[in-house]
Every structure is written in C-alpha cells, then in structure tokens.
C-alpha cells in the first residue's frame, strides 16, 4: 500500500493526531502525536489491509538543535510487503511517551535500550531499567551533550 | 598372593606370632603397592589413549609432542597438576572437601584387588569377590556427594545430586544382569567363575554364549556400566557444557587429578567385571592343550585379560566421542522403565534355563549331541 494511502486512512481514524507525512525518507515517515502512539500502532497492527505485524526496529534520535527527542518505530508487514516508519517527537527536557509493549512484546527490550541511552521515559513499561549500561550508570550516553565521566567506581575512565 | 603369604608364613610357623604379623603386613603392603603402581600406570596410559582415540575420531592427531607419538603426555599432565595452586574455597566445608577425592580414588582402586589376573596371579582371591567389588564401587557415589556438598557451590551441588541419582539407580540393572550370569557357575569368587568357563576351545564356554539370556545380560550390563562410570551419553554429572564441571568444579591440581583418575579406574573395574563374568576372564581362545612353560602361559593369560578389558574400554571411548548426552529425566527413564524391567525378566528367564537344563550352556548341549 502506498504511504499516502496509509496516511489517509490514519488521518481519518485519528483526526488531529497526525502531524505530517514525509515521503523523502526510506521508508516514508508519518509523524504522530506522542500520546496517540499506542492506539495508532495497535490500529496498524490489527487493521485488515495494513497488518503491520512486525515491529522491525525502535530507535531514539536526539534532535538537539530543535530541542526535541524523537522515537522512531519502523513497522513492517510480511503479508502485504510494505514498511512504514512512525515518528513521535518529544520535548527534550522531559521526554515521556506511552509504551507499545502491549502491542509488540519485543518493544520491552527496545524501549529499555532507548531509555538507557537517551533517557526517554516510557509510561506504563513493566520493567524500565538499564539494559546495556551498568545498572548504576549516571547519564544518558547517546545524547549529543553527553559528558564522559571521569571516574566509575574506582576506575579512572 | 594369598598362597604366597600362606607359603611364607607356613615356614614361619615356629616363629612367634609377632613375626608372622610383621611378615604378613609387609607382604600385604608390597602387594598393595604393586597393584597401586599398575593401577596408576594404567590410568595414565588411559588418559593418553582417550586423547588419541578422540583425535582419531575427530579427524585430528591428538598429543604428539611429549615423547614418541606423545606417549609421555600423561607424565607431563601429572607434573602440571602437581604444580598447580591448591585452592580450597573460603566457605567450603574443609574436611568434606579434602576427604572426597581420597575416598573416591580409594574406592576405585580397592576394586582392583579381588580381580583374578591369571590362573596363579592374583592379589586376594576373596570368596565374595564380585560382591566386594560391587559394594566398594558404590562408595564412589557417597564420596561424589561429599565433594559436591563440601564445595559450597551451587553448580557442584547440581552435579552431585545428579551423580548420586544416576549411580544409585544404575546399580540395579547392573546387579540384576550380573546375577543372570552368576547363577551358572554359582560362585562369587572371581577365579572360580573364570575356571568354570574353561574348555570349549577357550571361547565357546564363555558365559556370554551360554544362553540367550546371558547374551542380553551382557549388553544391559554394559550400558548400565557406562552410566555407572558417568561417561557420555550419561555424563550429566560432569556435563561441562551445562554446569561448568559439575561436582568437581572447585577442585584444582592433584585433587582434581584424583577424581579424574578414579573415573578411569572405574572404567577398568566395570570392564574387568564384564570380562570376568561374560568374556571368559583370562581364558585364551584356541590355545587348548598346547604345552608351554608355566610362566609363559601365565604371561599370556594376563595379556589376554588386559586385552579384553582394553577392547571394552576402547568401545566406551568410541561411544563417548560419538553420541550426544541424555537429559537427566531421560536417563532415569532409560534406567527405570527399560533397563531394570529387561534385566529383571532376563534374570527370570536365565533362572528357568538353568533350572531346566541344569546349568548347561548352548555349547554343552551341542557338544553333548555331537558326541552321542
């Protein structure tokens, strides 16, 4: 299905929550309001003709210049062979977004990673703790303004 | 050796009881040391053989640097293990931890004693030889549990529990299948069992060919024996890829070497029981009435005995490097649902055969018919 058509269907169903469609990325990106993300994803997964059963990737992006933090969901459908990316832009000083763990259980680990590296809080997540960095690490390494610590426990870093 | 002791002490009958005790003790110590030396030499060579056999099966060479064809590798390994740091974990139960390897090794080595190596070469011709050997081998399971608990390590405990469950369960098919063969010579003495199998060109009166039940009993015994010794496919107690090294995880250096050597000693012991009971012991096939000096005959008999045992051990090694490992519940299932019932009904069948045919074997019947 063409991205324009998907965007059309979504705009109809979730009027007011769709922000824009960007077609020059591969795959095309649809910008969504942060609080509508879970409903949009569930709709995309269950609806006939869309059936995005796979959450291919969930990434965080630090857009420091625009003072925003983005969470990007790449969705794919094996049945209809189409892919789309859903983007939600969050306030950089207080990034909150509801979790899509209830839609795809694998989002559990992806969201933990985004929390660990970017500091995005996923509301409703069952077990939001660091996954790659040590449990008592301070700071969010992938942010653009991250300052490397001088010491960790007894080691000079 | 007992005859030797009696011989020598007979000559001392006019010497005081003290002298007799001293001489007896010295002779027993000497014979013990000789058996220990033989056992240790065997165990060293067995580790070398295992590595060479493994290399052969796995399309590689195996040890070939230390000595001709790598033969002295076991000496190098022994020296290495002696020089390793002796670590006792801080929270380990010290006495259990230290005692376990010694008990395991003693139990496995003590079973070398009642074996009859040839017609006149033996250490102690116990009249309860088989019973003694089975009983002493069971001490291994207790010592394994001591080592596992004393290590204060969860992985060791896992291994120890599995080991005890396995060893204790597999004792039953072993004993039942041994009984199927023991009822024919009707004696527990190792030498008498072997002497019973003489004649028949040195091969056809072996108890394995006596009746179809003993043939089946041999295979049941062999499978249960592999499980008794903790060899793959039954090596879950020391399944190194699952629980690090099982019950000997915390042992280093010479203590570990004791466990290791005890395993090869056990392999020898169970193979020796199989050879004695089923494969004719030191009976040389097809030699018959060929006359030769006594010493040559004795040497040949010892050589034949060891050859048969080594063939069975080679088979154990071959199986180890071929088959994957059974899971613990599948292993227990094999023992209790398959081997034990088979061994039990086998025993009943063997008993019926002995009752009806008065202990005669297949060869005896055929020979009897041909003569008439």
């Amino acid at each position: 299905m063409e991205p324009k058509k998907i965007y059309g269907i979504l705009s109809e169903k979730f009027s007011g929550k769709m922000k824009q469609l960007q077609e020059n990325t591969f795959p095309a990106s649809i910008f969504v309001e942060a609080d509508a993300v879970v409903d949009v994803c569930r709709f995309l997964k269950k609806e006939d003709g869309l059936e995005f059963l796979s959450l291919i990737c969930l990434s965080g992006v630090d857009l420091k210049e625009q003072n925003k933090m983005a969470v990007v969901y790449h969705l794919g459908s094996m049945k209809h062979k189409h892919t789309i990316s859903i983007k939600a832009e969050l306030d950089r000083s207080n990034p909150h977004i509801p979790t899509v763990e209830s839609v795809w259980p694998v989002a559990d680990w992806y969201e933990r990673e985004v929390y660990d590296l970017f500091g995005v809080i996923f509301d409703g997540h069952s077990d939001l703790r660091r996954i790659l960095m040590p449990e008592d690490w301070e700071g969010y390494p992938m942010r653009k303004d991250y300052v490397y610590p001088k010491r960790y426990h007894t080691w000079d870093v | 050796m007992i005859s030797l002791i009696e011989h020598m002490t007979a000559g001392l009958s006019n010497a005081g009881p003290f002298m007799r005790i001293v001489v007896t003790t010295i002779i027993m110590l000497v014979s013990g040391v000789i058996v220990l030396a033989v056992a240790l030499l065997y165990e060293g060579v067995a580790t070398y053989a295992e590595r060479k056999v493994a290399g052969d099966i796995q399309a590689r060479i195996g040890p070939n640097r230390v000595g001709p064809y790598g033969f002295l590798q076991f000496i190098a390994d022994g020296v290495k293990l002696l020089l390793k740091e002796d670590i006792i974990p801080f929270y380990a139960d010290k006495w259990l931890f230290i005692a376990a390897p010694y008990i395991v090794f003693t139990a496995s080595f003590a079973a070398f004693v009642p074996l009859s190596y040839s017609d006149h070469v033996y250490v102690a011709n116990l009249n309860v030889g088989i019973l003694y050997m089975i009983a002493i081998s069971s001490v291994v399971s207790m010592a394994v549990l001591m080592g596992a608990w004393g290590s204060n390590n969860k992985w060791s405990l896992f291994g120890g529990m599995r080991a005890v469950a396995q060893i204790v369960s597999y004792e039953i098919p072993i004993i039942l299948s041994l009984l199927a063969a023991l009822i024919i010579p009707a004696s527990l003495t190792m030498k008498d069992i072997i002497v019973y199998q003489s004649g028949g060109f040195g091969i056809f009166r072996w108890l394995i060919f006596n009746n179809p039940f003993t043939l089946l009993a041999f295979f049941v015994y062999y499978i249960a024996a592999i499980a008794e010794v903790n060899r793959t496919p039954f090596d879950i107690p020391e399944a190194e890829s699952e629980i690090v090294a099982g019950y000997h995880t915390e042992y280093t250096g010479m203590r570990f070497a004791f466990f290791f050597m005890a395993e090869y000693g056990d392999m020898f012991v169970v193979s020796a029981i199989a050879v004695t009971l089923f494969l004719g012991g030191w009976q040389i096939p097809f030699i018959g009435a060929l006359s030769m000096p006594l010493w040559l005959r004795e040497v040949l008999e010892v050589a034949v005995f060891f050859t048969k045992i080594f063939l069975l051990i080679y088979l154990m090694m071959w199986i180890r490097w071929t088959l994957p490992r059974l899971r613990v519940d599948q292993l227990m299932e094999l023992c209790w649902k398959y081997l034990t019932p088979i061994a039990f009904f086998n025993l009943i069948g063997a008993s019926v055969w002995v009752l009806l045919l008065n202990g005669k074997g297949v060869y005896d019947i055929i020979a009897g018919l041909l003569i008439h």
């Binding site: 796979s54 | 399309a59 204060n152 793959t232 879950i236 088959l323 613990v328």
Partner: protein
C-alpha cells in the same frame, strides 16, 4: 545455600559459562531441575558502537561492522555498505555485486557451521564441532586468499569490494563446493537424525508464528516456525532475484513445527542452499570493475534510510540519518540476535536446565551484536 525463597534456588548462569554463546548472564530461578523463570542480563560487551559511528566518517566505520557479528562479518559489511549506498544512490558494477553474493553466501555457510558445531558441543557430542571447524578451514583459506583476513574481513566496502579475487580463487571454491555436500550428509548421519539428539530437541521451546511476529524473531528461527520469509526473496538486493534457490521452512518433521530441532535443521538445509547459490554465481561471474567510483571524502546528501539484509542469524538493519556532512548524524543498528534473545523469558518457563542450553543454542545468538 538457599535463596530468599525456600523452595526456589536462584542460580546465575553467569557471564562466564561454557554454553552461553558469549558474555551473557542468565539469572535462573529453579526448584531442582525445572526452571520457573529466566532473567537475561546483557550489556557486558557494550562498546558504544553507535556513538563511535557519530564520530567517524562513513568508510572509517566499516571495520566496526565486522565486529558486530564476527562470525558473519561479510554480511554485516554488506548491510552497512548497502545502507550508505542507498543514500548515495550509486550503482554497483555487476562484477562487484556477484563477488559480494559469493562472499556473503560463503560466510553464511561458515557461520552456520559454527552454529551447528557449538550447538552439538553443548549437547555433549563433541565430534561434529571439529568436523565443522575442518570444513570452515577451507572457507577461511578462501577468504584469506582474497582479503588477507580469516575472521573480520572488512572486504565489502561502500561502492563495491576492496579488491578483486586472486587467481585460483574460482578453482579452489569449486573444489570446496564439490567436497562439501558429502560432509552435510555425514553430519546428518552422525548427529541430525541421531535418536538421542532428537529426543533432546523435539517439542522443546516451540515458537508459534504469532509469538515469532510479536517478538521480532527473524532468520532461520522464523522460518522454522513455518513462515516462508527471506529478505533475499521478499526484498531482493544485489542479484538474488536472478538466482535459483529454495527457502527451507520448518515442517515439524520430528515434533511440533517450530521446535528446537526444526530451528537446528534450518541451518543445515540453508548450508546446502548457499552452496548451490555460490555455484551459480561462479558460473555467472564476468569481467568488470570490482568497485564503483565514489569520492574519497564521502558526503551523502541529507536524508534518512532504513536498509535491511538477511544475515545468517536473522535480519540485520541499519537506520541511518545523515545531515549532509562526512559523519553520520545517527546510526542505529538493528541486530537480529537482540530480538531473538528477548523471547527467551517466554520460552524458558517450565523447561529443565538442560533444555535451557538447547534453547539458547537453537536460537543461535551472538553477543557482540546484541550489545554493540
């Protein structure tokens, strides 16, 4: 020695363990042998590759992709190169494409050989591992001949490949392809259809198609659950649409569809198919450039792409955001093993300890790409 709850024991299959394929910690809650839960801890190998990518230029990052999944380094190189080329919109010469397919498929064979070998070693059959290594030596020799490295190749670069294949490569590859099918037959006889092996794996950890989609499982694990999805067919890249090869799918031959045996067998079938592909590519190889002409200082236009490729372990994807400069703005690596491992909390409930090892082995994970 008890945990906080008297009934359950908490064991850490810690970061150092012979069977977790890398530094993975599994906190296992068990009562005796049956597990009630598994909590994986990762991050022991986190090197911050994504942060490093933001500091280096595009060509400088290629060697880092080798170290993502070092057993399938060519495929990782390939996915990254394709991502940058998509942004650049450059066309790769045909010879370079065919060379890329040859290298990627040979790497797939060698990755599956290691996966098969280490899985069988976990199961207790040590011999097939060494057979796999023996075959892999041929492939390593081929790669060494081409690019000088045996494990981390850095061969498939942005724009093409780093150098042309040397003389003798084609003949040697054909030699290997003639020799290889007999070996697969040998593996099947030795291990795949062995009764003990099947007993250990059949009906263990069945992944249903719904679970596979929900947990993002890809690669042979997904195909073992009956879903015929391969990126080389569904979204063809390079010259895969011109090649004739099958996509093996799990049929539940030994148990339910999607059990561990199916996942294991997928890799064996895929090795056969890859050998087939390489043979076709060798016939199609024609003269030409081995790389496209791209500028030394690579500045792709601003944009975002997500490109994915079929790695031996699943779907490897790179999400690249470029801001027009010589360094990436954001590079996210979607590793197949990350999603494959997340399903283990669901699968490992109610299985036995030995089965946990079987599950991890059948999922075929590798830690460096999980931790990046």
């Amino acid at each position: 020695m008890a945990g906080t709850d008297e009934k359950f024991m908490q064991i850490s299959m810690g970061p150092q363990h012979p069977s977790t394929h890398g530094v993975l910690r599994l906190l296992v809650t068990t009562d005796g042998e049956v597990l009630s839960g598994v909590k994986p801890y990762i991050g022991y190998l986190h090197r911050g590759l994504e942060k490093i990518a933001e500091r280096l230029t595009y060509p400088q990052f290629t060697p880092f992709t080798d170290r993502l999944d070092y057993l399938a380094a060519m495929n990782c190189n390939l996915a990254y190169a394709m991502t940058v080329e998509k942004l650049l919109n450059v066309e790769i010469p045909r010879r370079a494409q065919i060379l890329r397919v040859i290298m990627a498929e040979l790497n797939r064979i060698s990755s599956h050989l290691i996966s098969f070998g280490s899985f069988s070693a976990d199961m207790g059959a040590f011999t097939p591992f060494l057979f796999g290594i023996r075959e892999r030596e041929f492939i390593n020799d081929l790669f060494e001949m081409t690019c000088g490295a045996r494990l981390t190749y850095n061969y498939i670069r942005i724009g093409g490949v780093s150098q042309d294949i040397p003389e003798g490569f084609i003949d040697k590859t054909r030699e290997f392809l003639d020799y290889f099918p007999a070996k697969i037959k040998e593996y099947n006889e030795l291990l795949s259809f062995n009764a003990i092996f099947i007993k250990r794996l059949a009906n263990i950890a069945v992944i249903s198609p719904e679970d596979a989609f929900d947990y993002g499982v890809t690669g042979p694990n997904l195909r073992a659950s009956g879903i015929k999805w391969d990126l080389r067919r569904a979204e063809p890249y390079l010259i895969y649409n011109e090649l004739d090869f099958d996509i093996p799918v799990g049929k539940g031959e030994m148990g339910k569809v999607g059990d561990s045996w199916d996942r294991y067998m997928m890799r064996i079938y895929e090795m056969e198919q890859s050998a087939n592909i390489v043979r076709q590519c060798l016939d199609m190889l024609e003269a030409g450039d081995y790389t496209a002409k791209i500028s030394k200082v690579l500045k792709p236009p601003a944009g975002e792409v997500y490109v994915r490729a079929e790695n031996p372990r699943g779907e490897l994807g790179f999400y690249l955001i470029s801001d027009g400069s010589a360094k990436p703005y954001r590079l996210k690596i979607r590793a197949p093993s990350f999603a494959n491992l997340s399903i283990i909390t669901k699968l490992a409930r109610g299985v036995m300890m030995a089965d946990l090892i079987a599950i991890i082995g059948s999922l075929d994970i590798i830690l460096p790409e999980i931790d990046r």
